[in-house]
Every structure is written in C-alpha cells, then in structure tokens.
C-alpha cells in the first residue's frame, strides 16, 4: 500500500488544489456526445480499480491522466498518460496470469484521441459524435507483465436529452483493434503457456446509460456495457456484460463521477478450476470501481 498511497495522495491533493472548471462525464464507462467549445481545455484524472477473479487475490488499479482541448466548436483532441498498479497472488491462469505480481503505479502507456461532433444533443434534439483513439502500451493491464501493444479504437456516441436536460440518455457502439506482443518471462511454471508471438485482437463494445439529475448539481445514473473479444483462430473468444450505478456531481468549476461496475454475465474461455462459470474472468474481474474528476480551463 505504501507504493500506492503517496502517488494517490499527491494526485488527490493536486486535484483539490487546482482551480476548478469543467466539462463533464455523467457516466464512468459510457460516453456522451458533447464536446468542448473552441479554445476550452479540460484536465481530468480517473482511477479504475478492478478486483476479484473468484480465486486467489487480484486487484489492479488503472490511472488515466488526460488533457483535452477544443480545437473548434465541433472538434476536440486529447492526450493521455496511463499508469498501472497491480497486486495478484495465489492465482495462475494458463496463458494469461503467469504468477504473483505486485507493484505500485507504473507508466503503462500513452494515448491520443480525437472527437468530432456531428449533431448537438441540445440544439439538434439528438446528439451524435465519433471518437478515435490511438494507444501505445508497455504493460499488460491484466497480468502486469511487460508487453508491447498498439491499439486503435473508434466509437460512435449518441445522446438524447429528456425533461429539458434533467434526464440524459447515452448510447455507444465501438470497435477496438490491437496488435500485441508479450515479452518472454523466465522461470515460468512447468507446462505454462506464455505465447510471445504477435497477436491481433478485435473487441466490440456496445453500451448505454441513463442519468437523472435529482438535485441541483447531482445526478444518479445506471449504465451497462457489453464487450465481445474476437481472435482470428477462435472467432468469439470471450464476452462480458458489466452494469452498475453512477453518481455524478457537476459544479460550475469541476465535476466528479463514481461508478460501480459489476460483471453480470460473461462467457467463453474459462481458467482451470473457475467456479463462476457464467462469468468471463480470464482477463476481466467480477467488480470494477471507477472515479473520475475533471476540471476545465
């Protein structure tokens, strides 16, 4: 914990000391269609804790520090720095989790993103935007082992306001393609499979969420995300459906969103001895908690 406490406290202190301004995410996982206005900037920090694979100990913490800028009233760009912390023990998953691993926040990768708004949800009644992001990764976020990863992800975001904006619906559909190459590991357990040949993976994501402003500045919502993973040799390899509640606060200066995301169902490949047979626990976990804090300039 000492590995984590200092950087986390520093980030929290920094977050609380910054001048607060904000665009905002009503949800933790699904994304809205609005963009920053021209010349506006946003910085935000999010943490995602992924925990519980049904055996042993597994907790991972993803940190994303992002800066966004509105180039025009319809087009924004972003740059992100990703970090990873992991603590796993007492669990081996052949081909995926080669052994115990524990470290505090380490640099995981970089990302750049672009978002274009076609229709404004407030002006055109129905909002539509598209995003594309390019990512370079150096650590496998599942095992914590070294890996080189190049990823491109594209997504469409739809958004609709109801009740003059008191109720917001969001829908997402996206595809992610990744080239991945693992680093070799010495002293693997006997017979443990750890392929180091390059592989391609394609994910499809579809999600939706509904958020209601129940008091000034406060929103309560629910969101669901289905993710399917495809690989060349096996077709649909794994899938999972997560859902959970979101609590959002949006002030005139900053915003925060807290989401609990629980895996409801999952399928495909399972690890040896997996007891939760209706979940995907090879790469996913049973639970995720995500906190985002955002500021605009």
């Amino acid at each position: 914990m000492t590995l984590l406490r200092k950087p986390l406290l520093a980030v929290a202190a920094l977050a609380l000391s910054l001048p607060a301004l904000a665009d905002e995410n009503l949800f933790g996982y699904v994304r809205g269609a609005e963009v920053l206005p021209k010349g506006a900037s946003e910085a935000y920090q999010w943490f995602t804790q992924r925990s519980d694979k049904g055996a042993g100990t597994y907790r991972a913490l993803d940190s994303k520090t992002e800066f966004e800028y509105g180039v025009t009233d319809r087009f924004q760009v972003s740059a992100e720095l990703n970090m990873l912390s992991i603590n796993t023990s007492g669990l081996l998953i052949d081909g995926y989790l080669p052994g115990d691993k524990k470290y505090g926040l380490r640099l995981q990768g970089f990302e750049v993103g672009f978002k274009y708004n076609f229709l404004s949800p407030a002006k055109d009644d129905f909002g539509l935007s598209a995003t594309t992001s390019l990512e370079y990764g150096m650590l496998d976020v599942h095992s914590g082992q070294k890996k080189t990863e190049y990823e491109i992800e594209s997504q469409l975001q739809a958004q609709k306001y109801f009740m003059e904006g008191q109720l917001t619906w969001v829908g997402n559909v996206g595809v992610r393609a990744a080239y991945e190459k693992r680093k070799a590991i010495a002293n693997l357990p006997d017979g443990f499979d750890w392929p180091t040949d390059p592989e391609m993976e394609i994910n499809l994501k579809i999600g939706t969420g509904l958020s209601y402003r129940f008091a000034p500045n406060w929103y309560i919502g629910a969101e669901v995300m289905r993710e399917s993973e495809y690989e060349t040799e096996v077709g649909l390899e794994r899938w999972s459906t997560f859902a959970g509640p979101s609590l959002h606060y949006g002030g005139d200066k900053w915003w925060a969103t807290l989401t609990y995301f629980k895996q409801l169902r999952g399928g495909g490949e399972m690890y040896a001895g997996q007891t939760d047979t209706n979940l995907h626990l090879i790469e996913k976990t049973k639970n995720e908690v995500r906190l985002k804090v955002g500021y605009n300039f």
Binding site: L4, A40, G251, D252, K253, A256
Partner: protein, 180 residues
Amino acid sequence: MSTRDWSVFLLPVAAIAAPAHAVDYLTVAQAQVLLVPGAKSFVEQPLKLNDEQRERIKAASGVRQRWDEQKVWRAERDGALQAWFIVDEVIGKHEFITYAAAISPDGHVLGVEIMSYRETHGGQIREAEWRKKLVGKTLADPFKLDEDVPNISGATLSCRNVLDGVKRLLVVHKLFLSRA
C-alpha cells in the same frame, strides 16, 4: 493489501460535499428597473396555475410548466400597464438558471435579464449581445437556436432552455395575462 487501503483514492469525493459557488447577478428590483425603466411601480401579482392550466401551457409551448405558481409583476406607470415582468427558472447544465423577462401588453418580448447563472461555459448568455436577440420576439417567431437566436458553444443546453423558457412565458402571457 486490504480493501480499506484502496479507499485513499476516493479522497476527492470528500470535496463533493462542498456546495457549488452560487452567483446572483441581479435582484428582482434591479432586474425590474433594467427591463422596464419607465415603470413607476411593480405590483406583485403571482399567477397560480392548476394542472389543467399547466397542461395547456405545455401543449402550446412544447415545454413543461414546472411551477404551479409563476412570479409575475404588473409594471405600471400612473396606473397604466406598461409591461408584465416575470421571473422564471429553467434547467442549466448543473443548476437552475434564474432569469427575468418583460413582456409588453401586446405580447412581445421587451427584454431578458439573467439573474443567476452558475455554469462552467456560456457566460456570454448574460451579455447584452446575446440577450438582445430575444427582444421583439413573439409567438410567431421560430424560437430555434442558430435560426433566429445564435447558439453559444459549450452552453447549448442553457441557451436552448432559456429560449424555450421565454417562449413559454409568452404562452403564459397569451393564455392568462393578456386579458388580465
């Protein structure tokens, strides 16, 4: 590592308890003077609305009449009606936007003043340049952003709701004040 240990990164949530900084720019009296400078008195005449009346407003304006009492003043000069002064609230991105509108006895907008605005973007909504686009509007106008009133990027929802709110007040005037 215990679960409790990880709770440290929820620290920023503690700040959520702090209320947003509310900024009120105008009092009712200040807005009255700005919008109807020729009036010598403002007679408070709140308009109480039952469910059926609120439904009629929604049907005619396209937006909900959220309140069962609308704050209305008769702006008078030497006993003669100069204008109707109405204070209203609409939903902004985070909080209600409080504004006042003056409507002439024949049903056109004399002016709009933003009394309270607390949003991140769109401070231009308070500026005279944007608000004067609403002057002269009647129910015959389209009331569409970027059609007869410009949009303010980053505050589209606020613009849309103020625009819809002013249209609703014109409907309130037509249904309940024009013959009062």
